[in-house]
């Protein structure tokens, strides 16, 4: 089979929309949330919100790892980038995120060495190829990405490449999901497809036990419509549970090998999320025996006091409490060309999605 084309077949969309309508008909005002930047973008791109019944509200939560990383991380990365002989390697998303007084892109324009990579392995290769430089990889991402960084670090150890370290800002979702479902009126969760491919589906069971419908969904338009239909049908039947609608990629047990690799490198810590505050146990830090690979420990730098852009409502948007159009900066002083906050600059940011694709139906 071709893995994408079939799940884009428009002739199969109508029956799914009918199912959504039928299930929603008997429901009160219902709030669903997705917590994956790729879902955010796909939903916006295909105008899915506009196709939903009026009593169904689909919000975006903190699904964009770049967006939930506090501004202080960018400030720290900029301070490292100013060190001579140091290369900051990063996923492209982070380069234009504004820190307290500028972005990494601006630091690069001022002479700092900032390299965009699409894989942490490329950052390691930079370190191998340039033994006189120190390479720091900005490690941002949820459970999908964390194993790739862990595997890279183990490779650095195995090949004895000393000039490679990480600035860690990785986060894990379970604690954030528990907080969101406790704090907001959430009836259903569109669970992230690729995070679940690694974690498995068990982590959503506590949410279902508290009455939240959970469906793991893929990213093609039909995948999303199917997941939304299943969520509403669960709620209509009064039987919230964990359902996997992305079986071609996600297994209930996830990827145990990937999790074992992560356990060799990272351990849990408290972590600050833009918009949600500090969530205990929601972050990852290097295990003590790998401390020398922590750029925060290896390099002493002065970091400016953190300052969020004035008027920016990224925090509330990430918690699903406001939409992009509620922000006074949206489309005025904050645009994709001149972003003020992370939600606009990230390729998976809620504000970027709404700005690019418009929004039929309020979030």
């Amino acid at each position: 089979m071709k893995w994408l084309d079939e799940f884009r077949d428009p002739s199969l969309a109508r029956p799914l929309l009918d199912r959504i309508g039928a299930a929603a008909a008997g429901l009160p005002r219902t709030s669903l949330m997705e917590v994956c930047g790729t879902h955010t973008m796909a939903i916006a791109r295909h105008g899915i919100r506009g196709l939903l019944p009026d009593n169904v509200r689909l919000t975006s939560g903190p699904g964009c790892p770049v967006c939930v990383t506090p501004v202080g991380f960018v400030d720290h990365a900029r301070a490292l980038a100013r060190l001579p002989g140091l290369v900051v390697a990063t996923f492209g998303d982070l380069v234009r995120v504004p820190g307290s007084s500028g972005s990494l892109a601006e630091q690069r324009a001022a002479g700092a060495h900032v390299e965009v990579v699409t894989s942490p392995l490329a950052a390691l290769e930079l370190a191998r190829a340039h033994p006189s430089k120190q390479v720091v990889f900005l490690s941002v991402g949820f459970e999908t990405t964390v194993p790739t960084v862990a595997a890279t670090l183990l490779e650095a150890e195995r090949r004895r490449i000393p000039n490679f370290s990480l600035l860690c800002a990785n986060k894990t979702l379970p604690a954030a999901l528990a907080l969101l479902t406790a704090r907001t009126e959430l009836s259903g969760l569109l669970c992230p497809g690729h995070v679940s491919a690694v974690t498995g589906t068990g982590l959503y069971e506590p949410l279902a036990a508290r009455g939240v419908a959970c469906v793991v969904g893929g990213f093609e338009p039909l995948d999303i419509l199917l997941a939304l239909a299943l969520l509403l049908e669960q709620l209509a039947a009064g039987l919230p549970r964990v359902q996997n609608a992305y079986g071609r990629v996600v297994r209930a047990e996830g990827n145990p090998l990937a999790r074992r690799v992560v356990d060799q490198v990272f351990c849990a810590c408290d972590s600050a999320w833009r918009g949600l505050g500090v969530i205990p146990g929601s972050g990852l830090t290097l295990k003590p025996e790998l401390r020398q690979r922590d750029a925060a420990a290896r390099f002493e730098v002065e970091i400016e006091p953190a300052r969020e852009p004035e008027g920016c409502r990224c925090g509330e948007i990430l918690a699903g409490l406001a939409g992009p159009r509620d922000c006074p900066l949206f489309g005025v002083s904050c645009t994709p060309e001149q972003p003020r906050g992370a939600c606009m600059v990230s390729s998976e940011g809620t504000c970027a999605a709404v700005h690019r694709y418009g929004e039929a139906g309020a979030p």
Partner: protein
């Protein structure tokens, strides 16, 4: 950053696979996935294969979708 692309494994050497799809070909690490064979489809993310795609499950999902379409077209109660 959840972007993951399904790609076909065309060649394996040690713990590195060559994967290809739609004219694009790249090398990915198999450090996170065991028992990968040439011909398998894997999900590629940040330079790694992070999971294997299951054709049977994919076909089953498609069949569910098609059934929903058939039932709707025949005007039957769902």
């Amino acid at each position: 950053m959840c972007i993951g692309i399904p790609m076909a494994v065309t060649h394996i050497e040690d713990r590195t696979a060559t994967v290809a799809e739609g004219g694009l070909s790249l090398q990915v690490s198999l450090a996170l996935l065991e028992d990968v064979a040439v011909g398998d489809y894997v999900l590629v993310h940040a330079g790694f294969a992070i999971t294997r795609l299951d054709a049977a499950e994919g076909l089953e999902t498609l069949e569910l979708l098609r059934q929903a379409g058939i039932i709707a077209r025949e005007g039957g109660a769902d």
